[in-house]
């Protein structure tokens, strides 16, 4: 057999049949040598970037509330709080977190801190644009459009519904009891005809 083909076939078999056992193999953990007495990790690099100790200020709703309104500048598209508590390889979000704490230490309130960030990093740093100027369009256009279309739809439907109602023709014979009226140009159906039609429709539905 051609070695390439053999490799391919054996590889395919390994993927198809071996894959099923891979999870089980994964469970057979090969322990590294025990950690030393000082409680330090054998391979600290594999545990990711070294972390700073969390303080009560990291959980302060005032701080986290601000951080959820500003975007991390690393390009991840996440807010600062989410990035610093999710992407532990990011060096930007911890720095931005420290900036927030520093601004709080200066006695600034939430809006002032946000304004300081906008001044430094531009409007893009806000997770949602301020509803000012052209940005107002961003917030109101979808709702206004739905209201407008909904209003027009309602008006048109009411008009059509009104038009589809039967016109009263002077001198026309009275409608049979229980019959659905047609338009003025359509002769009304007899009860027998209506009953037959309803029966046939029911039969079709069965």
């Amino acid at each position: 057999m051609n070695p390439d083909r053999r490799t391919f076939l054996s590889g395919t078999a390994a993927v198809l049949f071996g894959g099923a056992f891979a999870g089980r193999l994964g469970a057979q953990q090969e322990a590294l040598p025990p950690q030393d007495a000082a409680g330090s990790l054998r391979d600290p690099e594999s545990a990711g970037r070294s972390q700073e100790r969390a303080t009560h200020r990291d959980n302060d709703p005032f701080v986290t509330g601000i951080e959820k309104r500003i975007q991390c500048t690393c390009g991840c598209t996440l807010d600062v709080y989410t990035c610093r508590t999710t992407d532990f390889t990011c060096t930007y979000s911890p720095a931005l977190h420290k900036e927030v704490l520093a601004l709080e230490d200066e006695g600034k309130n939430a809006d002032q801190i946000i304004a300081a960030f906008v001044e430094k990093y531009g409007e893009k740093v806000l997770m949602a644009p301020k509803p000012e100027g052209f940005n107002v369009a961003g917030y109101v256009v979808p709702g206004l459009l739905i209201l407008l279309v909904g209003g027009v739809m309602l008006a048109v439907l009411q008009r059509r519904a009104r038009l589809s109602r039967p016109a009263v023709v002077p001198g026309a014979p009275p409608m049979p009891p229980g019959a659905t009226p047609g338009t003025s140009a359509t002769p009304p159906a007899s009860p027998a005809e209506l009953e037959r039609l309803q029966r046939e429709l029911r039969e079709l539905d069965q």
């Binding site: 409680g39 545990a47 969390a54 997770m127 644009p129 100027g133 052209f134 940005n135 589809s164 359509t186």
Partner: protein, 684 residues
């Protein structure tokens, strides 16, 4: 084998071009052999693309790192199932995956479509072949998965650790299946327009395809949420990322279509609207692909930026212009056969439901594109993130939830006051009871209160529908209640399957309210230290750090941090969270670290709330660990809602059931339309 793959792509290109040119030209009219040639081309395209796919898989399995794609997304020590899924992990492979799945669906459509729709099939073949040709063209000229490197690296780069998750083996194909299968309803719509066969026949031909597309999209989106939740580690499942939004857009328009198509089938109305929705859904699926691959909008999900975005933009524009021009030329033929009789009718409720679905789709599209618009108008870059989308879309979503309850209760044609009173009394009471419970329980989040009250109302409507139907069968046929319920669903699959889908949506909405009560904290713990967190349901959890261990597993070094958890003083077990450092082995005994260490979340699922533990890392390489503890209420109901929704969709799709047959027979006879438009006497 790459040569064979290349050859297969070119073969698909030429065969597809033949099918498209002959199919669209209409030269097959009166020439059965030519029509047969067009439809058989579809099978041939599928066959050659299977050859192309096998060629790529062969390269992946045999670690042929001379192929650029194989070197970019795999490594020698990558587990087998991830080698398999690497096929769609990158841009080029996913394009081939798209093309082969589309050709498979196109072949199935030709094979499975009933003989009575034969006149449409060459046009259908032309449309599907054109789309396949487009994807093959992108591969041949911009993103060739068989491109070879000038050298052979000893090992590949490996797969991004975040993609080494079972969710990523299933989620992308499901989403692709949803995106791709929309092409079939689109092809039938174009075929109906081209052939001028604009009765409800084409709708019946595509009913299962549209449901299938919608189901695959639903599964794909839900699996995507699940993957984000278990893998990304931020404690949520939906971030309004442009790529997430792109998947939601066709789902919304398809949902609108699945509702409005009922009005066309039953009343002969909304023909133009349904055509617009199908064309729009297809274009939105292409738009989603454009967003993901162009790099025009920043997203965490995007493929590497490349010039394929221009191909997609051009295809999007050309297809949109051609399809809507064709629709315009047939506008008069798509006149509604009856007019709406009352604003208080199911037809009107469905119209407003459509308005909301499409309105939400517009709102999501608007928000996604607003940064580009803002930059063009003001020259200032802005970010449109979750706070924006929540502010704009949550009220719309709640209105949709209300209509989910209202729609099925209103009578067709015209609802009387007595009908409204009979139908709405109990649901309104159930909504009011839920509202009272929320207020008595001092719930403070406005949107959560409204959502739960509306959920109570909608649950009332659904329960009432099932109860009345079951009781009616019990009385009429003396069936036991369980049997009556089963028969009710089995004999009216479309209606009650649809209601089960509504139950799934209801569960989703209730689960989403849990997000408002998410509780989290960061803590740094030495072994033996504890942190305490109180949940929204009033439980007190104590997290005690046990220690950190390191071991090797498959293609990675795992650093595992363990936490002992007690709930209200009672131990509920140990939860582990991990850091994984992946490595490659270019030669035996040679190990290279690949990628940054990734985080694996520890999750304990319960019906009330999830405990979500993230090991951020260690302090100065010791066992002193930094954690984020999160309590996520009701998250498991998102996944349960997804399962219920899929079950409902499958019931609706399942062959047989009496009303489906009746509806088809009626539509074929044009029965109701004649009754309403031409007077009762002419309906024979």
């Amino acid at each position: 084998m790459t040569l064979l793959g290349q050859f297969a792509l070119w073969a698909a290109f030429f065969i597809g071009t033949w099918a498209a040119v002959i199919g669209f030209s209409g030269r097959w009219h009166g020439r059965p052999e030519l029509a047969l040639s067009v439809t058989r081309s579809v099978y041939a395209i599928f066959a050659v693309l299977v050859v192309a796919a096998i060629s790529l898989w062969q390269g992946l399995i045999t670690h042929d790192f001379n192929i650029e794609y194989v070197a970019s997304y795999t490594s020698r020590n990558l587990p087998g199932y991830f080698i398999f899924s690497a096929f769609w992990a990158g841009q080029k492979g996913s394009l081939l995956f798209w093309a082969i799945v589309l050709s498979m669906f196109a072949a199935l459509a030709q094979w499975l479509t009933a003989a009575r729709y034969r006149a449409l099939m060459p046009y259908v073949a032309a449309v599907t072949s054109s789309v396949v040709v487009f994807f093959v063209t992108v591969m041949l000229f911009a993103a060739n998965p068989f491109m070879r490197l000038p050298f052979t690296p000893p090992d590949g780069n490996g797969l991004n650790p975040q993609l080494q998750n079972i969710g990523m083996v299933i989620h992308p194909p499901m989403l692709y299946l949803g995106y791709i299968s929309i092409t079939i309803p689109f092809a039938f719509a174009i075929a109906a327009l081209l052939s001028r066969r604009l009765d409800t026949g084409w709708l019946h031909a595509i009913r299962k395809w549209t449901l299938m597309s919608w189901l695959f999209l639903s599964i794909g989106i839900t699996l995507g949420m699940w993957w984000a939740y278990v893998e990304l580690g931020w404690g949520g499942y939906w971030a309004w990322d442009p790529v997430e939004n792109a998947s939601l857009l066709p789902w919304l328009t398809m949902s609108a279509f699945l509702h409005s198509v009922m009005i066309e089938e039953k009343r002969g109305m909304l023909k133009r609207w349904n055509m617009t929705l199908i064309i729009g859904s297809f274009l939105l699926s292409i738009f989603g692909t454009f967003i993901t691959r162009s790099g025009v909008i920043a997203s965490v999900h995007s493929f590497t930026q490349s010039n394929v975005g221009y191909f997609f933009l051009a295809f999007l524009l050309v297809t949109g212009v051609l399809a809507f021009t064709l629709l315009y030329t047939r506008w008069e033929r798509l006149e509604a056969e009856v007019q709406l009789e009352s604003v208080v009718s199911r037809e009107a409720a469905f119209l407003f439901n459509n308005l909301l679905f499409v309105g939400i789709a517009f709102s999501v599209l608007w928000g996604t594109l607003f940064p580009i618009l803002s930059e063009a108008v003001r020259g200032t870059k802005i970010t449109v993130g979750p706070p924006f989308f929540n502010k704009v879309n949550v009220p719309l979503g709640l209105m949709l939830l209300a209509l989910t309850g209202i729609g099925p209760l209103i009578a067709w044609r015209k609802a009387s006051t007595a009908n409204l009173k009979r139908q709405f009394t109990w649901p309104l009471i159930s909504g009011a009871v839920v509202l009272a419970v929320c207020l008595v329980g001092r719930m403070e989040n406005f949107y959560a209160i409204v959502a739960l009250a509306l959920a109570g109302f909608t649950a009332g409507t659904l329960l009432q529908e099932f109860t009345r139907g079951t009781r009616a069968r019990h009385r009429m046929y003396s069936e036991s209640y369980p049997k009556a319920f089963a028969q009710l669903v089995a004999r009216n699959r479309r209606r009650y399957g649809g209601y089960i889908v509504h139950v799934g949506m209801l569960i989703y909405f209730v689960a989403f309210t849990g997000y408002a009560f998410k509780t989290e904290m960061e803590a740094t713990l030495k072994p033996g230290d504890s942190a305490t967190l109180r949940s929204p349901f009033g439980h007190t959890y104590v997290f005690t750090h046990v220690g950190v261990s390191q071991f090797e597993q498959l293609n990675r070094v795992v650093t595992q941090a363990s936490v002992q958890v007690t709930k209200d003083g009672k131990s509920i077990g140990v939860i582990n969270s991990e850091k994984r450092q992946h490595f490659s082995e270019p030669a035996p005994g040679v190990r290279q670290k690949s990628f940054e260490p990734s985080t694996e979340v520890g999750i304990r699922y319960t019906l009330q709330e999830d405990l979500y533990i993230v090991y951020a890392g260690s302090v100065a390489g010791t066992e002193e660990a930094v954690y984020r503890f999160t309590i996520n209420p009701l998250v498991i109901w998102v996944w349960i809602g997804g399962v219920v929704l899929v079950v409902g969709g499958l019931i609706t799709m399942w062959p047989g059931g009496t009303t489906a047959t009746g509806s088809l027979k009626r539509a074929e006879a044009g029965y109701e339309v004649q009754l309403a438009s031409a007077g009762a006497g002419s309906a024979e």
